[in-house]
Amino acid sequence: MANFDIERKDNGDVTILHANGYLDAHTAPEFENALSTLIQEKRFKIVVSLEGLQYISSAGLGVFMGFIEEVRQNAGDIKISEVSPRVFKVFDLLGFPSLYEFYDSKQAAMEKFK
């Protein structure tokens, strides 16, 4: 079982989700739940920090895709921060940088919501 966990930190109207470990088809539902909870709470300004993420498969990328439309329709966004080069490569191979904003720090990502 891949180890994976999500930590949530609310900062005003922005929420930071720290995704740590291995995000694959087995752990993607956990990430999905975390995002789903935010949507239910109408918190649409989301930064996902991938500093602690060691691995991502397409099941993980799929979770990002599953929420982005609704989030943007509600004047929010999912911004991604601190992704490691090897994990970024997977996003990049599939063209995600044209749809998502990537930042070097949580702060920089949060600023953009101001």
């Binding site: 498969s57 099941a59 799929g62 090897r86 063209g95």
Partner: protein, 153 residues
């Protein structure tokens, strides 16, 4: 003699097999198994990551798609790895419903991202990450995704 292959030393060939339940909890075990073999062969960390990912995608497909509506048969993933000095060849097989690999077109990523809907990325990633990918489909008997990558030192 024309057509005669040059006389070379036999390459070291090895074969590994893994069979396990088609359960997403086992993806991690499969990745570690593959990573261990690739590491012993001398693949770079970068390459190992990519091989793990390609295998993960193929196995995740078996788990998600192969045994839909089947309750009788044992739902297993078969992983076979053949190694040579400079090449790893991995076959992921199931005995499930099968699919037509030709009918699954490479997603146009621009279109795909505009639709903003998940799914359909696995086979595309496998083809992008590995040197060679082929399929052999025999529904209910054996459906194979075979992929290989060469070691460039």
């Amino acid at each position: 003699m024309p057509g005669k292959k040059p006389h070379t030393l036999p390459e070291k060939k090895n074969s590994y097999r893994l069979k396990l339940p088609a359960d997403s909890a086992n993806l991690d075990i499969i990745r570690k198994f593959i990573a261990g073999i690739a590491e012993n062969m001398g693949f770079s960390e970068e390459d190992i990551y990519q091989i793990e990912l390609a295998v993960d995608e193929a196995c995740a497909n078996v788990i998600k798609h192969a045994y839909i509506g089947e309750n009788t048969r044992e739902k297993e993933i078969h992983v076979r790895v053949k190694t040579r000095a400079k090449k790893i060849e991995i076959t992921i097989a199931d005995r499930g419903i099968g699919f037509n690999p030709n009918s699954i077109k490479t997603p146009n990523m621009e279109e795909y991202l505009k639709r903003m809907k998940p799914g359909g990325l696995g086979l595309h990633l496998i083809k992008t990450l590995m040197d060679k990918v082929s399929f052999r489909i025999n529904p209910g008997v054996r459906n194979e995704v075979k992929m290989s990558k060469s070691l460039v030192k």
